[in-house]
C-alpha cells in the first residue's frame, strides 16, 4: 500500500481548511458541552469527597439509663459488636462523659464547680464500618439496637445524613440527565456539521465513488476529521476548565463548601482527564459516522 494514512490526514486537514467555519462550529460545540460536563463532574466529585469525610464521623450513641454490672455491660458490648456493620463499640462512663464536657467548656469549666460528676449518663458509642456509613447502615443498626430493648435513648446524625444523601443523589441524577442530554445534543450537532461538509463536497464524493473508491476510502478522511475536531474540543475544554478552576473554583467554591477550613476543591483526577478527551474523540468519531451513514450510499 502507498503512504495511505498521511494521505487520509492530508485530505482531512484540507477538508477542514476548506470549510473553516464548519470546523470551528464543531470544535466549539464539543468544547462547550464537555466543559459543562466537566464542571459537573468536578462538583460531584468534590461533594462525594466531602461526604466521605463527613461520614467517617457517623456513629450511633446509645445512652444507658442505669449502668449495669461490668459483666453485663461487657456481654452487651460483645453482643453489639456482633451486629452487622459495627466496627467498634466504646463505653463512655459517667465520669468520662463529665470529663469530656468539662474539656469542651474550656476556660468556663469552673461553671461545673460543685456539680455532681454522675450527672451525665453513661453511653455506648458505636461506630460503623466504612461501607455501612450511610443512611441504610445507620437505620439497620438502630433497628437492631432497638430490638434489643435494653438500651435507652439512641442518638444518631440521621437527619443530615438523609438530607445529604438525597442532595448527592439529586446532584448525580442532574449530572447524568444534563450530561446525557448535552452529549446527545453535541453528537447531533457534530453529526450535522460534518454532514454539511459532506454536502459541500458531494461532487467530490460522487466522483470518488465513480472512479472506484471503496466506501472505507471515502469515509476515512471524514472520520479522521471528526476525530481531530473531537480531540481539539476535548483539549480546549480541558484547558478552559482548568483555567476557570484556577481562577475561581479552587478558592471560591472552597470557602462555600468547607466552612471550617479544611482542604481545597480538587481538580479532576488524571483518569477523568483522559476520559474527557476520550469523550471528545468519541463525539467526533461517532458524529461523523452518523453523518456518513446517511450520506454515503453509492
Amino acid at each position: 500500500m502507498f503512504d495511505i494514512l498521511p494521505y487520509f490526514f492530508r485530505r482531512a486537514l484540507r477538508n477542514m481548511a476548506q470549510s473553516p467555519f464548519l470546523c470551528i462550529a464543531a470544535v466549539a460545540t464539543v468544547t462547550v458541552s464537555l466543559t459543562i460536563v466537566a464542571f459537573f463532574v468536578i462538583i460531584v466529585f468534590n461533594v462525594e469527597k466531602i461526604t466521605a469525610r463527613w461520614s467517617q464521623e457517623v456513629q450511633v450513641v446509645a445512652y444507658l439509663d442505669q449502668v449495669p454490672a461490668p459483666a453485663v455491660l461487657d456481654q452487651r458490648v460483645r453482643d453489639i459488636r456482633k451486629i452487622e456493620g459495627v466496627a467498634e463499640v466504646e463505653v463512655v462512663s459517667r465520669e468520662q462523659a463529665f470529663e469530656r464536657f468539662r474539656g469542651r467548656l474550656g476556660q468556663h469549666a469552673e461553671l461545673l464547680e460543685g456539680v455532681d460528676p454522675q450527672i451525665l449518663p453513661a453511653s455506648l458509642e458505636i461506630s460503623l464500618k466504612p461501607d455501612y456509613r450511610n443512611r441504610q447502615g445507620v437505620e439497620n443498626l438502630v433497628a437492631a439496637l432497638k430490638a434489643r430493648g435494653d438500651l435507652g435513648d439512641l442518638r444518631y446524625g440521621h437527619d443530615w445524613l438523609v438530607r445529604f444523601e438525597a442532595f448527592l443523589g439529586l446532584l448525580r441524577l442532574m449530572g447524568l440527565v444534563l450530561g446525557g442530554f448535552l452529549l446527545f445534543a453535541t453528537l447531533f450537532i457534530v453529526s450535522n456539521t460534518i454532514r454539511l461538509t459532506l454536502f459541500v463536497r458531494r461532487d467530490e464524493l460522487e466522483i470518488m465513488a465513480l472512479v472506484g473508491a471503496t466506501p472505507l476510502f471515502i469515509k476515512t478522511p471524514f472520520i479522521i476529521e471528526g476525530a481531530l475536531q473531537g480531540l481539539c474540543g476535548g483539549l480546549l475544554s480541558l484547558s478552559g476548565v482548568y483555567l476557570v478552576y484556577r481562577l475561581f473554583l479552587r478558592e471560591g467554591l472552597g470557602t462555600l463548601l468547607f466552612t471550617a477550613g479544611g482542604s481545597e476543591v480538587l481538580f479532576l483526577p488524571p483518569a477523568y482527564l483522559v476520559g474527557l478527551i476520550g469523550l471528545g474523540l468519541f463525539l467526533g468519531v461517532f458524529g461523523s459516522l452518523g453523518a456518513l451513514r446517511k450520506f454515503v450510499r453509492i
Binding site: M1, F2, D3, I4, Y7, Q18, D203, E204, E206, I207, M208, A209, L210, V211, G212, A213, T214, P215, F217, I298
Partner: protein
C-alpha cells in the same frame, strides 16, 4: 465484454425506464447508444457502472455478474472502467493534474507512478501544459478532455460516455472523437450515448437504438 440478459429497470412502480433489454457487446467494439430523450440511454449506462441496479435480469461485465455485487466489490470493477459525462464532473477546487490523479489515488497507487501516468494521460489529450489550472479556467472542450484523461488514465477495459459531446461545438466534438477512437484502437471497448446523428454518420459504428426502454434497432457496421 458486456452482456445483458432481460434487464429491466423501473424508477417508479408503473413506468419502466428499461424493459427486458438483452444485448451483447464484444471486446474492442465501439457502440453508439441512441434514441429519443427519455429512451433510457443514461439509465443503461448507469446500470453498466453500477450507479443503479436493475430490477430484473443479469448484467455481465468482463465475465463478472455485477447485478448483485456488494459495495466492496463494485469499486474494484469501477476501477477498470472509464466514465465520461456530458457535464464533465470535474472537481472545481482541484487542479487539472489533481483531477486526473484522483482516479489513481483512490486505487492506492504509488505517487511517482501516479505522476508519470497522469502526465502521460494529459499529454494524450494535449493538456500537459495546463496541469496546474483549475477546471473553471478552461474552455468546455478542454474540461471535457481533462475528464477523458481521467477516464483513460486507468487504461479502462470499457469506456462509458454519456453524451460526452453534448456541450461541445462541432470542432471540439471532432477532437474528442479522435480521443475515443484512439482509446478504442488501444483496446478499450467504448459505449457512447449520443443524440448526434451527424456524428454517427461521420464515424459509422455499431448503433443500438432505444425507444421507451426497449431496443428497437441494433445496426452492426
Amino acid at each position: 465484454m458486456i452482456q445483458l440478459h432481460n434487464v429491466s429497470k423501473a424508477y417508479q412502480k408503473d413506468s419502466s425506464a428499461l424493459d427486458q433489454i438483452s444485448l451483447k457487446i464484444e471486446k474492442g467494439e465501439f457502440v453508439y447508444l441512441t434514441g429519443a430523450s427519455g429512451a433510457g440511454k443514461s439509465t443503461l449506462l448507469k446500470l453498466l457502472y453500477g450507479g443503479e441496479r436493475p430490477n430484473r435480469g443479469q448484467i455481465l461485465l468482463d465475465g463478472r455478474n455485477i447485478t448483485r455485487m456488494g459495495p466492496r466489490q463494485l469499486p474494484l470493477v469501477r476501477r477498470r472502467l472509464g466514465i465520461v459525462f456530458q457535464d464533465f464532473k470535474l472537481i472545481s477546487t482541484r487542479t487539472v493534474f489533481e483531477n486526473v490523479a484522483f482516479a489513481l489515488e483512490v486505487q492506492g497507487r504509488k505517487r511517482f507512478e501516479i505522476s508519470k501516468k497522469v502526465y502521460a494521460a494529459l499529454k494524450n489529450v494535449g493538456l500537459e501544459h495546463k496541469l496546474n489550472r483549475r477546471p473553471l479556467e478552461l474552455s468546455g472542450g478542454e474540461q471535457q478532455r481533462v475528464a477523458v484523461a481521467r477516464a483513460l488514465v486507468v487504461d479502462p477495459i470499457v469506456l462509458l460516455a454519456d453524451e460526452p459531446t453534448g456541450n461541445l461545438d462541432p470542432e471540439t466534438t471532432l477532437e474528442l472523437m479522435d480521443l475515443f477512437k484512439s482509446a478504442n484502437a488501444r483496446g478499450s471497448t467504448v459505449v457512447m450515448a449520443t443524440h448526434d446523428r451527424e456524428l454517427i454518420r461521420r464515424f459509422p459504428r455499431r448503433v443500438i437504438t432505444l425507444d421507451a426502454g426497449r431496443v428497437v434497432e441494433d445496426r452492426h457496421v
